[in-house]
């Protein structure tokens, strides 16, 4: 059984990140876009923690990840508030419908 090392974690992080980005670009539901972003933040966190295991002299990476978790929660709250507000006005969370301004 091959070893598992830092690079495996990193690769997983990159894949999760890319999946999130793909989801963000492809999906047209604001909620799912939001979740894709959460996915990307999670991927970044995984990379941070993996790197911290690689530089174990302090806990910088883990703590950064900790903060990111909090920030992601805050971001989700604000994002959901905006989505709810939009839904109230238009009864839709489809992002394609939000094209009132252009040019």
């Amino acid at each position: 059984m091959p070893d598992v090392g830092l690079n495996h974690y990193l690769l997983l992080g990159v894949m999760l990140f890319s999946l999130g980005a793909v989801g963000f670009v492809v999906r047209r539901n604001a909620l799912i876009s939001l979740m894709s972003i959460e996915l990307m933040l999670n991927a970044a966190n995984l990379v941070l923690v993996a790197f911290n295991r690689y530089h174990p002299v302090d806990h910088t990476g883990q703590i950064f990840a900790l903060f990111v978790v909090a920030i992601a929660a805050a971001e989700a709250a604000v994002g959901l508030a905006i989505i709810v507000s939009l839904y109230r006005l238009r009864r839709s969370v489809g992002t394609d419908d939000a094209d009132g301004m252009k040019g």
Binding site: L34, T60, F64, E75, V78, A81, I82, L86, L89, G100
Partner: protein, 535 residues
């Protein structure tokens, strides 16, 4: 004593955060008054007085913070002309925050921007019926985020600051929640902004992985070590992702797409806030990150694929697109959005020059860098004043639940309200770059430095596109001064004292900076040394 010094150095930040908390507590304690009944003038009066007091309090807090920054700046200079570490030494060793003079200057710009936004917000919010207590509060919080950003010495605090600023701004954009436009703009800004933030974060994670540290100076040291690192490609990718995240915030092409929509949809004072505070803070941190973490001579700055060439591409695209796309707009907010994109392009020139300086003598190189970054700071000041002033006029023109942001709405403003028109004229002239306004010197210095650093293509494109830009700014002047009002029922704006004050201050400072740019420029240049010598 040490405690005292720490508090002293943190004064501007403490002032703004304390002010925000007080305001919040006060609002929470007082509770929300019932909406005044239609005929109840007394209640209406009370609501308005409260709104005015709120806004005055927030303005006072920001003014105090700005004054504190100025005082600290003088203190720091007295402590040692060029001692970069003065303030950072007296701040405790805890991670992240450094109150060097560069940060102090940015604090002052941010506070000034916040003040100008609050000054113009009063009548706008009232006319649109959204005068809720959260507005000044969110402005304070967002400015606080910007201040963190300006002072951040590591990636963690930078990210927190950026998110505080962004979250505050998203909510300010969505503030007019009964308006579909406002909410849509907020959704766009939020989703794309969070996307950019995620990209930024991933870049930070990679940088952390390569260097094992979040501290900017440490990253810079590790990356400049003589021995090549296998991580160099990874570091380059991390750097690129960080640059992308910041480019989004300063709305550089091709990450500018949100700008026109968000600017158009947002309530006008918020638009001003985005143009002024967000951009300034983003540029401040961009300068710090790029020049501290990837300093002159590090392989990621001036290598073929370093940030200098990356930003050069951005700047060229940004100047061209920002200036040309503005030609077709008939919504003034959109037009100013493109203007803000274009100005981001000009400001990028300064950052690029600071990274592309070539000189055999280190001291000489540092001096040129300081000149370049000083010019950027000066440009930011000039831009802040002029843009806030221009938006203030738009804010004040809002009437009866309707904002007036079409070019047509400005027709005949010179007749309806000569004072406003004159203020608008001065601000727009500064944006065009006509002497003797501050904008002229901003451009003069940036282009001159570009020529000096041998980056004449940038200067050439800059000068040529600013000629093109003159055309669309001119449309604004034509609308204000050379067209009669389309319809008779256009209401004559009756600016509040606060609004008047804001415009007058912006216009006066724009002219004053044009007549006496030396002092401000010298302050900016001196402050930048702190950044360049950041350890």
């Amino acid at each position: 004593m040490r405690w005292f010094n720490s508090v002293t150095a943190l004064f501007p930040i403490l002032c703004v955060s304390g002010g925000a908390l007080l305001l919040m507590l006060f609002e929470a304690a007082i509770g929300r008054p019932a909406a005044p009944a239609p005929g109840d003038l007394e209640a209406l009066y009370r609501t308005r007085v409260r709104a005015a007091l709120r806004s005055a309090f927030a303005i006072g807090v920001l003014a105090l913070a700005a004054a504190g920054s100025a005082g600290l700046w003088l203190l720091a200079r007295r402590a040692g002309q060029l001692d970069p570490g003065f303030l950072s030494q007296i701040v405790s060793h805890t991670a992240g925050l450094g109150g060097d003079r560069f940060a102090l200057v940015v604090y002052a710009i941010l506070c000034a921007g916040g003040i100008l936004v609050l000054l113009q917000a009063g009548s706008y919010l009232r006319e649109l019926g959204i005068d809720r207590p959260e507005f000044p509060l969110l402005v304070l919080f967002a400015v606080l985020g910007g201040m963190f950003l300006a002072a951040a010495r590591d990636l963690l605090l930078m990210f927190i600051g950026l998110e505080t600023l962004s979250l505050g701004t998203y909510c300010l954009v969505a503030f007019q929640r009964s308006s579909l436009k406002s909410t849509e703009a907020a959704l766009k800004y939020f989703l794309l902004g969070s996307f950019a933030a995620a990209i930024l974060l991933f870049g930070m994670a990679l940088l952390y992985g390569v260097t094992g540290s979040l501290e900017l100076s440490r990253i810079g040291k590790v990356l400049s070590l003589a021995s090549p690192t296998a991580f160099e490609p990874v570091a380059a990718i991390g750097m690129a992702l960080v640059v992308v995240g910041l480019a989004f915030k300063v709305s550089a092409v091709p990450f500018h797409m949100w700008t026109p929509d968000a600017y158009e949809g947002a309530p006008t004072p918020t638009t001003a806030f985005m143009a002024v505070v967000v951009k300034t803070a983003a540029f401040a941190i961009m300068m710090r990150v790029l020049l501290v973490a990837f300093p002159l001579g590090s392989p990621l700055s001036s290598a073929p694929a370093g940030w200098v060439s990356l930003l050069t591409g951005f700047a060229l695209l940004t100047m061209v697109l920002g200036n040309f796309a503005g030609l077709m707009q008939d919504n003034v907010k959109r037009l100013l959005a493109y203007s803000s994109i274009a100005h981001a392009g000009y400001i990028l020139i300064g950052v690029i020059v600071a990274g592309a300086v070539r000189s055999a003598v280190p001291r000489e190189a540092e001096r040129l860098q300081a000149d370049a970054l000083g010019a950027v700071l000066f440009y930011l000041v000039a831009y802040t004043l002029a843009t806030a002033g221009a938006f203030a006029v738009l804010s004040i023109c809002a009437r009866d639940h309707r904002e007036s942001t079409k070019v047509v709405d400005l027709h005949g403003l010179a007749v309806r309200s000569p004072g406003l028109a004159a203020g608008f004229l001065v601000c727009v002239l500064s944006l065009v770059g006509i002497p003797p306004t501050a904008g002229f010197f901003g451009k003069l210095y940036l282009f001159k430095l570009a020529v000096q650093a041998g980056l004449w293509p940038l200067a050439l494109v800059g000068v040529l596109t600013s000629v093109a830009a003159a055309y669309y700014y001119l449309r604004l002047i034509v609308a204000v001064y050379m067209r009669p009002a389309e319809t008779e029922d256009v209401a004559v704006p009756a600016p509040t004292t606060r609004g008047r004050l804001g415009i007058a201050a912006a216009a006066l400072f724009v002219v004053a900076l044009g007549l006496l740019p030396a002092r401000v420029l010298s302050v900016a240049t001196q402050s930048v040394f702190d950044l360049l010598r950041m350890q």
